[in-house]
């Protein structure tokens, strides 16, 4: 692939020159946002401040009810005296006023009062009265104060409010805080009156010594947000250029002119790519400058010691760290532009690209994320975490370099994918169809297979959300039969595919069944082992595991039905979908090993939960492998059903699936190896493999 730097430089320079001459675009992309954004921020800040001030300064009206109303009033009086000792009426600090009301509930509903203080008397212990109750009270343990459960003898102030009204929520919250403070003061006074020599707060006083410097603290705050902000700038700034760069040129007819020159497609793409990166970085610099202006105008709060956190050396290092991010974003935007047939179409794709592009930038906000984890392999997310670490003064160089290389590699791969689009005749011709689209059949299905499975996944997730409260049998029927099998039928019909070939409905050689017999227990235990291993990198919360177990394995269903719905049906319909249609749609595009892995990964993704991904992907890959080797879906179906059945039996007989002896995993590995040896010896190759 030729890449001549003088050609690339000529193209790049010309692209930049043309762009910088587009005054209108520059004006509206750079200058006008500089004017409008502060207006937005000022407006937002002013509105919020005004609202908060209103809530702070308004006088909240409340009613007092309940058997302990007198105690409540006394408590409120004491609270007011504490807050504002000089005044007996509403003064600056104590902004509450009682309203007499016969029907406080109705008054609250109408909005004439903000909340109700209901005094509820102390409830005696069951079977205890009078002094016995008091004695019992003395002997009963103290409840955990944080949970605010009343002990026998204590009375309750219930603050009744309406959370759907801002003023009611605010007033009730302020009153609760004031009452809590009064209670604290009461306790201090009580202890003091009983001769307690120190204040309660002086008991086991905690002194916190934070070793982080102010610079590091500022760096942490900045490190969390900087990638998100920069990604937003780079995406929006780069999109202006990228979309016009291919889709726009196509509409103007200048793309054809360019394509007839001796510059190679890669050279053209690299030059456009550099142009997009340059403009994106320029816009980022300008917008970052704007942000500093906003900080100066106090429109944006910044952590203290922000300046100290960002030294010149840090700026240089950050620039270097963000270069592959800018390159990757530019590649993705150009790829989007190349996929589109027109400017308008490219614009439709931009919003999803923007939303998906911002997701990895949110990773630093998650607690407990370290660069020394699977995160280092996720482009953009790894840079975001690395930058956060750098700004807090933590330099894990091997991981930082690895993160940089992963993101840069992703950028290179995407650029190469983009170059393929410049070879497409669709860029030039008015015809929106080529021979594949016209003839249909398997070649067209191969082109569309990813779209089908992406859409099916989305539909499954949406529908699952609506039916999750239903009986699990009904859920499985809907998911497996209606959605998965329905999609299979649709695909077969739409592309006029032969079901026998597409779904590999061929009988395998007899010995294959022996292989399946070995594979079932081997695969099951191997999957368990893989799960344990995966748990090390992707630990699963116990609550999630328990919740999953309860929802998927309800005890109320007869066992034979559990076998039917959770073993047999998935064994049939999931196999038809993944080892049938998906495998068929990809088998001519990917080499066998890659095909097996990809089908496995997609199968794992379809199981949604993170903790299920690795073991199901592993099993899915094995099912795909046996289908390819035997040219038959039936072994995979049996294997799948039997594997699920083993899990159900294990649950029913309460056989633990964790903590197995290592020898079990070795044995399982051996059985799997034996199984695949049998499959290999009795193979019937899948036709048309790459």
């Amino acid at each position: 692939m030729k890449l001549r730097s003088p050609i690339v430089f000529t193209l790049f320079r010309t692209e930049l020159r043309m762009l910088l001459r587009d005054r209108r675009v520059l004006l509206t992309s750079l200058v006008l946002p500089m004017l409008i954004t502060p207006l937005l921020m000022l407006g937002s800040k002013a509105t919020v401040e005004r609202h908060e001030k209103t809530l702070r300064e308004m006088t909240y009206r409340y009613a007092v009810t309940g058997p302990e109303a007198a105690s409540v009033r006394e408590l409120v009086r004491a609270t007011r005296a504490r807050i504002d000792p000089r005044s007996k009426t509403n003064q600056t600090q104590f902004r509450f006023a009682e309203e007499k009301s016969d029907d406080a509930t109705n008054a609250l509903a109408k909005g004439s009062i903000h909340f109700i203080l209901e005094g509820i008397g102390a409830a005696p212990l069951p079977g205890m009265t009078g002094t016995n109750a008091t004695v019992k009270a003395k002997q009963s343990g103290f409840d955990d104060e944080e949970q605010e459960k009343p002990v026998a003898g204590a009375w309750t102030v219930k603050v009744v409010f309406r959370a759907d009204r801002d003023d009611s929520g605010s007033g009730s919250s302020q009153m609760s805080d004031a009452l809590r403070e009064s209670r604290r003061v009461q306790r201090v006074d009580l202890l003091k009156s009983r001769g307690f020599p120190v204040k309660p707060s002086e008991l086991a006083a905690i002194d916190n010594k934070d070793l982080a410097s102010k610079r590091q603290v500022a760096g942490l705050a900045l490190g969390r947000t900087i990638t998100l902000v920069l990604m937003l700038f780079i995406l929006t700034g780069g999109a202006v250029v990228a979309i016009d760069s291919i889709a726009g040129e196509k509409e103007r007819g200048t793309l054809e002119t360019l394509l007839t020159t001796s510059a190679s497609r890669v050279e053209i793409l690299v030059a456009k790519h550099l142009g997009v990166v340059a403009i994106a970085l320029l816009i980022t610099l300008v917008q970052s400058g704007n942000l500093l202006v906003y900080v100066g105008l106090e429109l944006l709060p910044l952590p203290a010691n922000f300046a100290a956190a960002v030294t010149p050396a840090t700026v240089v290092l950050l620039f270097f760290m963000y270069l592959p991010v800018a390159a990757l974003v530019a590649s993705v935007l150009l790829l989007t532009s190349g996929c589109a047939k027109s400017y308008k179409e490219a614009q439709i794709y931009f919003m999803p690209v923007l939303l998906v592009g911002l997701v990895p930038a949110l990773v630093p906000f998650l607690p407990g994320i370290s660069l020394r984890s699977i995160i280092v392999l996720l482009p953009v997310a790894n840079i975001a975490v690395a930058v956060k670490d750098i700004l807090t003064g933590s330099f894990d160089w091997p991981m930082i370099v690895l993160a940089w290389l992963v993101t840069a590699g992703a950028a290179v791969w995407t650029t190469r994918a983009g170059a393929r689009f410049l070879l497409s005749e669709r860029l030039i011709t008015a015809s929106d169809r080529d021979v594949v689209e016209a003839k249909g059949g398997l070649p067209l299905f191969e082109r569309h297979v990813w779209r089908w499975f992406a859409l099916l996944w989305g539909v499954l997730i949406i529908v699952s959300g609506y039916i999750e409260k239903l009986d699990v049998r009904l859920q499985l029927t809907v998911n497996l039969v209606v959605l998965l099998f329905g999609a299979v039928c649709l695909m077969l019909r739409h592309y006029h595919l032969d079901p026998r070939e597409a779904l590999a409905l061929h009988a395998p050689k007899p010995m294959v069944w022996l292989g399946v017999l070995c594979a079932v227990p081997g695969g099951f235990i191997t999957a368990l082992g893989v799960f344990q291993l995966a748990n090390y990198f992707l630990p699963t919360p116990t609550s999630v595991l328990e919740g999953f177990s309860q929802s998927v394995l309800p005890k109320s269903i007869p066992f034979w039905q559990m076998l039917l719905f959770m073993a047999v049906l998935p064994g049939i319909f999931e196999e038809l979908t993944f080892r049938g249609m998906l495998l068929h749609g990809l088998h001519r595009r990917l080499r066998p090993v890659a095909l097996v892995l990809v089908v496995g990964v997609v199968f794992g993704i379809y199981h949604v939960a993170l903790f299920r991904f690795v073991p199901t992907a592993c099993l899915g890959a094995m099912f795909a492998a046996v289908t390819l080797l035997t040219r038959s879906i039936y072994p995979a179906m049996l294997w799948h059903a039997a594997s699920n059945a083993i899990g159900l039996f294990a649950d029913k007989l309460q056989i633990p699936e964790t903590g197995l002896d290592p020898i079990c995993y070795f044995a399982a590995g051996g059985m799997l190896a034996a199984a695949f040896w049998i499959f290999w010896r009795n193979r019937t190759p899948y036709p048309g493999l790459k």
């Binding site: 000529t10 010309t14 001459r21 103007r252 054809e256 510059a263 011709t429 169809r433 080529d434």
Partner: protein
């Protein structure tokens, strides 16, 4: 010695939603020699533009082969484009570049070193008489001026082969004549020129040999004298009608509004 442009059994099929399979180019073969203007004459939708786009490596042939200066369009497209200057009504100019910058850009991108490019650009500006507006932006130029700049950028890297696809479309009489004069000059310089048009008088005036293309097939290919002799007609218009009508029973009816992509 092999001709600079050799096309053998070239075919191209498009698929359209409403019309189905469209054989835009069907078994086309011809050669274009150095110092010759080879004319491709045909009505709209005959397959001229598709053929030329295949030569320019923008489209891939469905069958057959084509080569420019010995380089195959499929296996060595960049070398083909380096030997080629392609100008079509669909190849637009960058509106925000000046004429000079446009020429300089296309010189450099086609491999001319900086100094050489500058010198060539200056020569071409003089030759084409575009000194007056050399530093004006392309979007400010009239149609005629734009066309001159377009021609200039086609030859700026001095390619041995030139392809002009309906270059005089939209030009007034004077500009069209000037265009023809320039193309004749290129021929005199020894370039192999493929010239496609549907204007008969142009083809008569300029072309050394003419191929009449209709419904994707070449139905006749000869000098003007040869065509006159074989058809018994004098004017190219009559020759064209005669050739096309002769081939009518073999061809499928023209689709309404047929226009190749």
């Amino acid at each position: 010695m092999t001709a600079p442009v050799v096309v053998q059994n070239l075919a191209k099929t498009f698929y359209d939603e409403s019309r189905g399979e469209v054989q835009a180019v069907d078994d086309v073969s011809f050669e274009c020699r150095a110092g010759e203007i080879f004319g491709l004459l045909g009505a709209n939708g005959a397959g001229k533009t598709t053929t030329l786009r295949i030569l320019a490596t923008i489209l891939k042939p469905s069958a057959g082969s084509a080569s420019v200066m010995g380089h195959d369009v499929l296996t060595d497209p960049e070398a083909v484009r380096a030997s080629l200057g392609f100008s079509s009504s669909t190849t637009a100019l960058y509106p925000r570049l000046t004429a000079r910058e446009t020429l300089d850009f296309f010189a450099r991108i086609n491999g001319c070193p900086k100094a050489q490019a500058r010198e060539r650009v200056a020569r071409l500006i003089q030759r084409f008489g575009i000194e007056e507006y050399a530093d004006a932006r392309v979007d400010k130029l009239s149609q005629g001026m734009k066309q001159k700049v377009a021609i200039a950028r086609t030859v700026v890297h001095d390619p041995p082969v030139l392809i002009f696809d309906e270059p005089t479309v939209g030009l007034d009489v004077l500009n069209a004549l000037e265009m023809q004069k320039m193309i004749a000059e290129f021929r005199a310089e020894g370039k192999a020129i493929i010239f496609s048009t549907h204007i008969m008088s142009e083809a008569e005036k300029l072309c050394d040999r003419i191929a009449i293309i209709h419904r994707g097939k070449i139905h006749a290919c000869d000098t003007l004298a040869g065509l006159r002799a074989s058809t018994g007609q004098h004017y190219l218009e009559d020759i064209f009608v005669h050739v096309v009508q002769d081939s009518a029973p073999e061809a499928a009816p023209l689709a309404q509004g047929a226009a190749t992509p």
